[in-house]
Amino acid sequence: MIEYFVQNASSFAGDIDNLFLVITLIIGFWFFLTFGVLVYLIIRFRRKEGVKAQYIAGEKHSETRWTHYPHYAVIAMDVVIIAVNIMVWVDIKQTLPPRDNLVRVIGQQWSWSFIHAGPDGELDTQDDVTTVNDLHLKIGETYHFELQSRDVLHNFSVPAFRLRQDAVPGRTISGWFKPTKTGTYDLQCAEMCGYGHGIMGAAVTVHSEESYDTTMAQIQDGTYESHFQKRKGTKTKFPSNTSKVGDEDSFAVLLASIF
């Protein structure tokens, strides 16, 4: 269901979408059952002249089984949810598969710096490539990330990867992801980080092998135009804070005239 709204572009995105589906089926069943019973009872037992309410204390076994038996079923469903969830969680957050590549992500008020490991696959060497608000990834490679913050809490959140991790100052938090679809995705800061929190975004681009190499070369010789530079030229497409949303007369203006 999530993939209807956001593409799933990482190896574990599908697991999370499936978990969502499992939970939706279970609680959807309970929700509609309970809601249906509630509505039925409200309509069935509405006040009618001459009909007196029954006296039911809800303490005898013959009465309480109506709430207890569904309740045992709830417990069984809970066990299923916990089990499926822990399986997915252990895969994503508790295990670190062997890495193909490495990137360091540094959040600060209010931008993201990315240090790509370069051809040797190690950080803090001569061939590292540093970018700001622009992360470049190679498709099909398992990335380890080292997440750091220079000031306050930030959150490295890429919805298309179903990835989210707080960056905590004073710590390096590691994790992994494996992009599986080429394209450009949003990265949003997802932890309140002050004045510029709302604009602390970055573009995550997943490249094919060749395109990755050319982009990296372009970045190094300074000819690369980042997504944010490109966006400056297309103001109408991504309106800035002062432009209108739609083409028609703004609803706010209409409201203002009413007041």
């Binding site: 309740h71 997802a190 739609g246």
Partner: protein, 569 residues
């Protein structure tokens, strides 16, 4: 409704208490009813501020960068301040004072049949500190730098370092106001517990206490047991801000995560602190208007104890991806999902109460039933967020936001209206207009769903909270998502406009409404046995209790209710 009982009791109660001057009756009262109303009115004024803030930032989200009518332009800092204080106000200055302090004060002595709280002056002091805390919060909006904008959870280092938050005094006044408010509720809480334990009417056993009182007491116990760590945390945060200590600053050997543990150790029980009073109020209303004994009184009570107990060991589900050890998360997943067990049992019992009833759709009953329906959505969506792996996607997204509004809106707003419409005759001695009440109900309930159901979809689309303009993100700037935002905003405006119906109905009924009889709903509990409104001292003769609170439609009796204080034949 049995019209035979509407004979209005004329003002014949004997005055044990001499007539007080206006100052001592309404401004510096020791009467628990007036103090309760002070809390309720203060809470409602704060709710207007909180609603106004919601209107302002929803307008900014729907029409980014436009001039918001009745507010002005909203910049990023301003937006942060609005969302932060909307959350803070609605939880600490609306839900807590209205549901716990307000109705707790008004109801506890009346429902357990005593003349006042056991510590009336402590009670007055508690309100006065609360009022100061509200004024400090309001003052924080006007200091240099503006109000605090670091989210209602105020995670350091953002909240503890002025250079990061850019709201030097705003942040300090905010934490000061929150700490003062806790002091106020600690004073009030000790009063509630002591009164319920010691001042019950003769004959009222533990299992004869109405659920509404029981749940307020359980909530207060939860609050008092959990608030300690946060008060300590608040002092540490204040010292970080003003004295330059580094409890939460890694550069000085502190740890930002420490605050999160202290905050959520309080913050999660807090959810149940505000939930339980509403659940209790709803239990009473459902029982009265379906003319049914509560289904499994003891079951409901014990599930509340279980929920309260479990709520102390789930706090880290707010921190699954905050940098805690991932293995610990598994433990908290189990405890979190376990909460669904007592709560499901409680919901089943509420719904089972309707079975075999004779349901009358008066305004309070509509509110109570709508609470069950909407809280059900809030409850089941909580299961998604209790699952740690899904939390990787949903943490701090609009899905979380929609989920907790589906719990907090029913708790705070629906619960408040249910209680106000139900006890209004007792508070002011007059009936509210039923037609206007129903118009207000539908005009609130339908837009409420229209606001928050679409936000679940935005959450699925990966939209994060506390972002002032989604046009900055290409994936979120799509027109269809923007249409959803506009729809939610328009629904909010409709909802806010319908509140004028309530305000009109409330004040006109207070002065010009039909005179209320002592027991307009034919209810059993003790507050309905005294005059409407009750005199200072509550009862002419203090009542004696002979039975539980929910003996409706007892077979073999002519009347379908059996007041707690009516002697057996």
């Amino acid at each position: 409704m049995n019209q035979a009982t509407t004979a209005v009791q004329t003002d014949t109660h004997t005055q044990h208490h001499e007539e007080l001057s206006f100052l001592y009756k309404y401004i510096l009262p020791v009467d628990h009813k007036i103090i309760g109303m002070q809390y309720i009115f203060t809470g409602m004024i704060m709710a207007i501020i909180g609603g106004y803030f919601a209107y302002a930032f929803r307008m900014q989200l729907a029409f980014p960068g436009e001039l918001v009518p009745l507010y002005g332009l909203i910049g990023p800092g301003e937006y942060n301040m609005l969302v932060t204080n909307h959350g803070t106000i609605m939880i600490f200055w609306v839900a807590m004072p209205v549901l716990i302090a307000g109705f707790g004060n008004f109801l506890i002595p009346l429902m357990i049949g005593c003349d006042d709280m056991v510590f009336p002056r402590l009670n007055r002091l508690s309100y006065q500190i609360f009022l100061v805390s509200a004024l400090v919060l309001i003052a924080s909006f006007f200091v240099a730098g503006g109000g605090f904008g670091g989210a209602w959870t105020s995670y350091p280092p953002l909240s503890s370092v002025a250079e990061y938050s850019l709201t030097d005094w705003g942040a300090s006044l905010w934490i000061l106001a929150v700490a003062l408010e806790f002091v106020s509720f600690l004073l009030g809480g000790i009063n509630f517990i002591t009164t319920t334990m010691n001042a019950r009417a003769p004959g009222m056993k533990w299992m004869d206490i109405p659920i509404a009182v029981w749940f307020i007491v359980v909530a207060v116990i939860l609050f008092m047991a959990s608030v300690g760590p946060l008060v300590a945390g608040a002092v540490m945060l204040f010292m970080d801000q003003r004295l330059g200590t580094t409890f939460f600053l890694p550069s000085g050997g502190g740890d930002p995560l420490l605050w999160q543990h202290l905050f959520w150790f309080f913050g999660h029980p807090e959810v149940y602190v505000v939930l339980l009073p509403t659940l209790g109020i709803v239990a009473d209303i459902i029982s009265v208007f379906s003319r049914k004994k509560l289904f499994g009184y003891k079951t409901i009570l014990y599930t509340a104890f279980a929920t309260g107990g479990l709520s102390f060991i789930v706090w880290a589900h707010h921190q699954f991806i905050a940098g805690i050890d991932p293995r610990v998360a598994n433990v908290f997943v189990v405890t979190t999902v376990l909460i669904s067990i007592p709560l499901a049992e409680m919901m089943f019992s509420y719904i089972a109460t309707l079975y075999g009833g004779s349901i009358e759709f008066k305004t309070p009953m509509l509110w109570a039933l709508s609470f069950l329906a909407s809280f059900l959505i809030g409850g089941v969506t909580g299961i998604y967020l209790g699952a740690s792996a899904l939390d990787i996607y949903f943490h701090d997204s609009y899905f979380v936001l929609a989920h907790f509004h589906y719990t907090f809106f029913p708790i705070t707003i629906i619960g408040m209206f249910a209680a106000l419409t139900y006890w209004f005759p007792k508070m002011f001695g007059r009936m509210m207009n039923e037609t206007l009440g129903k118009i207000h109900f539908w005009g609130t309930f339908i837009p409420f769903n229209c606001i928050f159901l679409p936000l679940f979809l935005l959450g699925l689309a990966g939209q994060n909270r506390r972002v002032y303009n989604f046009q900055n993100y290409p994936d979120l700037a799509k027109q269809e998502l923007q249409d959803i935002r506009i729809f939610a905003t328009v629904s909010l405006i409709v909802l806010l406009l319908f509140q004028f119906v309530f305000i009109y109905n409330f004040f006109v009924s207070m002065f010009k409404g039909e005179k209320a009889p002592n027991n307009p709903w034919n209810a059993n509990t003790l507050e309905w046995s005294t005059s409407s409104p009750p005199p200072h001292g509550n009862f002419k003769i203090l009542p004696t209790v002979y039975r539980g609170a929910y003996e409706y439609s007892v077979p073999g009796r002519e009347k379908d209710y059996w007041p707690q204080n009516e002697p057996p034949e």
